[in-house]
């Protein structure tokens, strides 16, 4: 055998009392880098080896409490700040209802952190390259023996004297453990390259299949294809194959109010004026009249607008006939039109039409003022 590096020396026992006694002696001899291996934890070995109690509980405490705090903050923020909703008449922050989740998060944080901390940080596992693996010592100690190993890095270690010391403890057997030969793993070995290639194929194939195929298959397609009709698509449900349908007869647009006297030239009934001729109403009426009515009827209702001559002149609004119209009749004429005058229903809202009516009435009164009216105006 080539000159291998020594890891340590071991001794095997097959009785728990013997190992306890031996361990005490090793500890008294002043060694520090040594260990006892056993197939199960031996009662009393901790004392014999003078091992301090484990500090793992501190990790548990820290992470457990963090879990508690994090859970409470999460629930407080989501339920009271970000999107508060009144559920069951309870306050946004209901501690009794938050307790179960808090408890569960505490437990999971505490347990997972403890186990991971123990294996990864306290033990340095997973690690299958330790010198004791695959030795006769390890096989025995796994099965039904108890062993002591003193490592070469211990300051008091000397291959000969330490081995003698171990023999003095009356073990079943002793063994010198060497570090295993380092295995070379060449990078470009065909099997390894094939393995990498295989992984690359599997991952890319898998990703492609997932993103380009699976995501489009119901029900994994995130409701991309739904059994509803969107505009401009067809539908087998209807006989004419069209998805888009006309509204049913008699469908009325939202906000639409049917004008009961539509199409009648001489209605027997008319609507009554719901608006008082307040200052605002008359000002509104004036604005709308000047915009929509004055081009034909003129600014004061005389029928002498700037379109006179180019366009059939409307009759004056101050005629006997016009002055005797009911308010609703004037409204009717604006709404359905009369002779050459078209319907102004699409240009002027109902509100505005009534305001115009009030304004026209004001004009008519102005042009046919009574004596008391004149006196009233003169006095101002």
């Amino acid at each position: 055998m080539t000159n291998k590096k020594i890891f340590g020396v071991t001794a095997l026992f097959n009785d728990p009392n013997a190992i306890i006694a031996a361990a005490s002696k090793v500890d008294s001899a002043g060694f520090s880098k040594w260990d006892v291996n056993s197939p199960y934890p031996i009662h009393g070995i901790n004392k014999a080896m003078k091992m301090k109690p484990s500090k793992l509980g501190i990790i548990t405490l820290i992470f457990g409490l963090s879990g508690t705090v994090l859970a409470l903050i999460l629930m407080w923020w989501t339920m009271s700040i970000d999107y508060p909703m009144v559920i069951g008449g309870k306050p946004y922050f209901s501690l009794p209802a938050f307790i179960p989740v808090t408890f569960e998060v505490t437990v999971i944080m505490a347990t997972v952190s403890t186990v991971i901390a123990m294996f990864a940080f306290f033990f340095g596992l997973p690690r299958n390259t330790h010198a004791l693996h695959d030795t006769d010592y390890m096989k025995k100690v796994s099965r039904d023996h108890y062993g002591i190993v003193i490592e070469a890095i211990d300051p008091k270690f000397d291959e000969r004297t330490t081995l003698e010391f171990l023999k003095s403890l009356k073990p079943i057997s002793t063994e010198i453990i060497y570090y295993p030969e380092k295995e070379e793993y060449p990078m470009f070995e065909p099997r390894f390259l094939g393995f990498l290639f295989g992984i690359a194929v599997v991952v890319s194939l898998g990703t492609y299949l997932m993103l380009n195929k699976l995501m489009y298959i119901e029900p994994f397609d995130w409701m991309d294809n739904q059994a509803k009709i969107i505009p401009q698509t067809g539908s087998e449900f209807f006989a004419d194959g069209r998805g888009m349908r006309l509204p049913v007869d008699g469908t009325v647009a939202r906000g639409f109010i049917l004008y009961p006297f539509e199409g009648q030239t001489n209605p027997t009934e008319v609507l009554s004026n719901p608006n008082f001729p307040t200052k605002e109403n008359l000002e509104l009426g004036q604005r709308k009249y000047l915009t929509y009515c004055s081009p034909c009827h003129g600014n004061f209702g005389d029928g002498d607008s700037r379109l006179a001559g180019q366009f059939p002149n409307p009759p004056t609004l101050h005629s006997e006939r016009a002055r005797n119209f009911q308010d609703g009749m004037i409204y009717h004429i604006i709404t359905v039109g009369q002779n050459v005058m078209p319907s102004y229903a699409s240009q002027v809202t109902r509100e505005q039409r009534w305001a115009i009516v009030n304004y026209v009435r004001a004009l008519q009164r102005a042009k046919n003022a009574s004596d008391s009216d004149l006196k009233f105006v003169k006095a101002k």
Partner: protein, 458 residues
């Protein structure tokens, strides 16, 4: 037959040596599966296929394939969920609680019971997911940030269930795996097959049986057991909250949390006994899983049966005492209404038959205990059925009353869950040691040093 109380009873019978223990427990892992194994697997596998088919039909055609209706909106889906979660509780109790109580007899059965917990929770977890109707959107149950600022309702017991069952599954898995590591190391060191050695090496993480590791390991085990105990109590408590936070008569009653926990332990232990009776025979483990173990479990079954009986009695008394008419009606309806048969199956299987365990001979007789524990499993399923269905089918408004009957698909899925459970158990027996080798070695005769702690007593 008089016991000598001054001597502590052996946990492992037959004065087995450490090597013999190892050989005995590892034997199924070394031998190829035999015909009986494949027959058993075929039976349980067929049950799984039937269940999977029924599930597929449910996914394709919707929850309408089940018997759920108005007013019975929750039926076999929830009954099966609570049933399986309950079964899982025995494992953690044996593992964690008996560990904290320093009951050494748990060592023969802990590994198996923990595995049963994990399998039972897997079976249980299927039900809340499938009963949502669109199980592929199950991710919506978790609090992930999204553009709509939508969050889950943390105050809903259904969400508490999501957290509780996930945490329970994870912690049980971790607890089980942590306990497996020394055993995997033992298997690694005794196997001659290269593939097995690689697998065991990877999963044992390179465990070296070092005492400097054992000291932290033992502490971690105590911590895990210390957390698993309140966890297991909390899981079935939270499941009971699904019902108890409502205003439904028959559901809204404060005793539900401890009552459900006791019932879970009760049904769980019954299932453990059911399976262990077979396992110890098939794998020749009679010296490790002794009749004493079974007797102790039967005592626990007796005790929890009486706790369940107490809860039945208290619920009934308080429903009268409360003077609330709907409460009183629900209990009369349970006992004498259209589901009278379910109620009396429940009471006889859960309270009456287990009383036979007062007799030592029956506690220690394998055929007798098999019958009783099977009846307990049936009775506990019916308890959940009675609680869910009878409370829903006739509640406040008589005009809303209705009846419920499960469909073929309900039954198929239930059968499938049993199939899944037993398939996993059967596979487990051939893949991993069913008893914890290192723990049994620790409690074998002669495993503890016989040191004297000074002179004392007389």
């Amino acid at each position: 037959m008089s016991t000598d109380y001054s001597v502590e009873a052996s946990v492992v019978a037959g004065r087995l040596s450490l090597a013999e223990i190892e050989e005995l427990i590892a034997k199924p892992l070394d031998t190829k599966p035999d015909k009986k194994f494949f027959i058993a697997l075929t039976i349980s596998g067929s049950a799984v296929l039937i269940g999977a088919t029924c599930l597929l039909i449910t996914f394709l055609f919707g929850i309408g394939m089940w018997g759920n209706n108005q007013p019975v909106g929750w039926a076999l889906d929830i009954v099966n969920f609570v049933f399986w979660i309950g079964i899982g509780h025995a494992g953690t109790l044996i593992s964690a609680i008996l560990f904290l109580l320093r009951q050494r007899w748990r060592t023969g059965i802990a590994r198996f019971a923990e595995a049963m917990t994990i399998f039972a929770v897997m079976c249980a977890g299927i039900f809340p997911i499938i009963h949502t109707g669109r199980p592929w959107l199950a991710g919506y149950l978790l609090p992930y940030p999204n553009q709509h600022n939508l969050w889950i309702n943390f105050t809903s017991p259904l969400i508490w269930d999501v957290f509780a069952v996930s945490v329970y599954f994870t912690v049980s898995l971790i607890f089980w795996y942590t306990g497996l590591i020394p055993d995997l190391a033992i298997l690694r060191d005794r196997t001659s097959s290269k593939i097995k050695k690689t697998i065991y090496s990877i999963f044992s993480l390179g465990w070296r049986h070092s005492s400097r590791h054992w000291v932290h390991y033992e502490k971690a085990y105590v911590i895990l057991a210390g957390f698993a105990t309140p966890l297991v109590l909390s899981v079935h408590t939270i499941v009971s909250f699904d019902f108890a936070v409502s205003i439904m008569p028959g559901w809204h009653t404060t005793i539900f949390p401890p009552y459900f926990v006791a019932g879970a332990i009760f049904s769980g232990f019954a299932m453990v006994v059911t399976v262990l009776v077979f396992v110890r025979k098939i794998f020749d483990l009679q010296n490790i899983i002794t009749v004493n173990h079974l007797e102790k479990m039967n005592k626990v079954i007796l005790a929890t049966s009486m706790m369940v009986g107490y809860a039945y009695g208290m619920e009934f008394f308080i429903s009268w005492y409360s003077g609330v008419q709907v409460e009183q009606f629900v209990f009369i309806n349970r006992m004498f209404g259209p589901y009278i048969w379910a109620y009396w199956i429940m009471v006889s299987c859960n309270v009456l038959f287990p009383q036979l365990f007062w007799f030592r001979k029956i506690r220690r007789s394998i055929p007798a205990m098999m019958i009783i524990v099977l009846l307990v499993n049936v009775g506990m399923w019916f308890e959940r059925f009675v609680i869910v269905v009878t409370s829903l089918h006739r509640d406040f408004l008589p005009s809303s009353w209705g009846m419920y009957a499960p469909t073929l698909y309900d039954a198929g899925i239930l059968l499938g869950s049993f199939g899944l459970f037993f398939t996993l158990v059967i596979l487990f027996t051939k893949a991993l040691p069913v008893v914890s080798i290192s723990e049994i070695k620790a409690v074998a005769d002669g495993a503890r040093p016989t040191h004297h702690r000074g002179e004392h007593h007389d």
